[in-house]
Symmetry: none
DNA sequence: AATGAATGAGAATTCATTCAT
DNA sequence: CATGAATGAATTCTCATTCAT
């Protein structure tokens, strides 16, 4: 077993997780590297062995966490979609709904995501992404309701962005409406957009 | 003429404007007070005569600039709406369209607004806001298409948030789509949502 | 009295003096700013009010100290030269001799000067230097022994550099010869060069 | 063939050369060990197998490079001296002239040598040096022009130091005069000193 | 012998804020 | 009211050196 590379990956992850929790609760600008390494249980120098600087760390966290969320949501959608034989519209609605739920339960990640939402979309759209296939099938689902490939792509992006943004606001500030207050309305709007 | 109070207001505005430009281009965290006061042409101590601290300044800028934008957009909508005798849906679409255009032309303000979009809505919804009446009429317009007051309020919020968010991404990063690419799609979606 | 500018000059000088002593005894690279400010009795931030960074400080010290030394030497030469009605060659020899003595007594300054000797010459040659006139008269003295202006300039430079360099080595390391061992030899060589 | 000891010597030399180039271009204080070992193609730990610390490395480089230069210069002088049957003065002048030329062509080595010129002399004077004999013959040459052994030693030292110092300044900063501008003057002075 | 991950003391520098003038 | 010199805690990042593999 490649214990050496494995240990490195583990250490990197420890830093990533420690930073995530801190950044999420106090914001990146309010979290000194000192605290991150202390929480991660590594030396200060070790941090700079794995990340060029604080900004690279931030980027990595966003990537890391977004990936986690998208991966989880897609897995659930796929499973439930198959089990319940959902049609195109229903699957997309389910995807958006799950995204909202998951984000609502991941308050901290929203703090980081806020204002960088296109990152999530980039994850889906990137040629080399592990999600490429799924993203493709989402677009195909939307084409089944009569959109061109381009329209489908754009609309998917706008809807994702829209729901994420509303979620961020709703979850983070709860003002003027909470997620739960907004959720039925969002669903109604999504349905309207998809028919 | 109250030259004393007037001069104070002027100096305060000079600081606000200087900070706005700096914050917009480099971000608040990357802009030291030193630079702000230098650009504003006042002494460092003077700054603290007008603002409690850097955070109050930031808040004030967002308020200041959002107000400017909303005020401008609403004025244009009102004028054109009257001139062209637009119906409810058309007025709302015009409002959203103008918001997009104005934001697209105010790249810097988006930097600040990004992730704080509900601020704009708060402006509209606040009891004491100068926009209260207009916001009220927007809601009433939406009720004309068959929504309850509550639904109308929420939908207005969601649509605003959605469009602002998409604009921020599109204008600021241009990725994955530019505003101009997205604008027709957005309009189509808005229309669908309002019928 | 302009107490404000005066106080600033004083504080700057305090830093300069503190740094000089520290740099001279341990070398600039071995002296943290922390120690400098502590010795100067000012806050760390104050340091950066007066000097861009450690390197500017170093340059300033060299300038400051070289100026002090040259000023002192020239004053002595002028005085003694007049009193004893010395001729050209004798005055130059006296100048070099005094330079050697003064440097020998200013061990610390040599630490800083070592390897940056042309600084001293620059001081003499700089158009705006307070020493311009004196430097000019040194050159004129050398022209009296039959050199062209250009030859005189170069020879003055070479001799200065040569003597400073030998002094640095001799004073700082005492190896292979001490200043006192070398001084007669140097004098003999200077005399030879000037006739 | 002693491949073991040979390989070690080779690795040591690789480090020495890598460090030399780096130190020469950016200065020792600005060159981290990291860069040295990377350039040398060895691991960081390996460095400490061959050198106690960074300071020992620096010393070794200066020694290494000075030796190279002196060895080269002396070889050339010896060869040309024999071929052209030069007399004492001419040989010394040739030696100094070659030193200047070689240094002018070895800009980087001067960076390191600057302020440590007596090292070169130490090389010549050290009892166990490979140059002991040559240095001795240089002294003897000077005694041929009527100096005592002691005077000869000192004068050789002063002249060496003087020329090296002037070279460092001239080559490194080119200010106030370049090597080429100074060279005739230096030669003239050397000639004067040797007669 | 060689490696390179890990260390952590330390260094430079910044900057929001205060306060005497 | 206005000023800007002074502060020093806080922060980021570096790097020589060690040591387990």
């Amino acid at each position: 077993m490649a214990t050496v590379a494995e240990k490195k990956r583990l250490k990197r992850n420890k830093i990533l997780e420690a930073a995530y929790e801190l950044f999420a609760s106090k914001g990146m600008h309010m979290t000194p590297i000192d605290e991150v390494v202390k929480k991660a249980g590594v030396a200060k120098g070790t941090f700079y062995l794995y990340f060029r600087d604080k900004y690279e760390l931030t980027d990595q966290i966003i990537l890391h966490k977004s990936t986690q969320i998208v991966r989880q949501v897609l897995a659930e959608v796929r499973e439930q979609g198959e089990k319940e034989c959902l049609d195109a519209v229903e699957q997309i609605l389910l995807f958006l709904d799950k995204m909202i739920s998951t984000m609502a339960q991941n308050r901290p990640v929203l703090t980081l995501l806020s204002g960088k939402i296109s990152t999530v979309y980039d994850l889906l759209a990137d040629e080399n992404s592990e999600f490429r296939d799924t993203a493709q099938s989402l677009v195909e689902l939307m084409m089944q309701i009569g959109l061109t490939a381009e329209q489908a792509g754009k609309q998917l992006y706008v809807m994702l962005n829209m729901f994420c943004s509303v979620c961020c606001d709703a979850v983070l500030s709860g003002s003027p409406y909470s997620v739960d207050e907004l959720r039925p309305e969002i669903r109604r709007m999504a349905q309207k957009l998809l028919t």
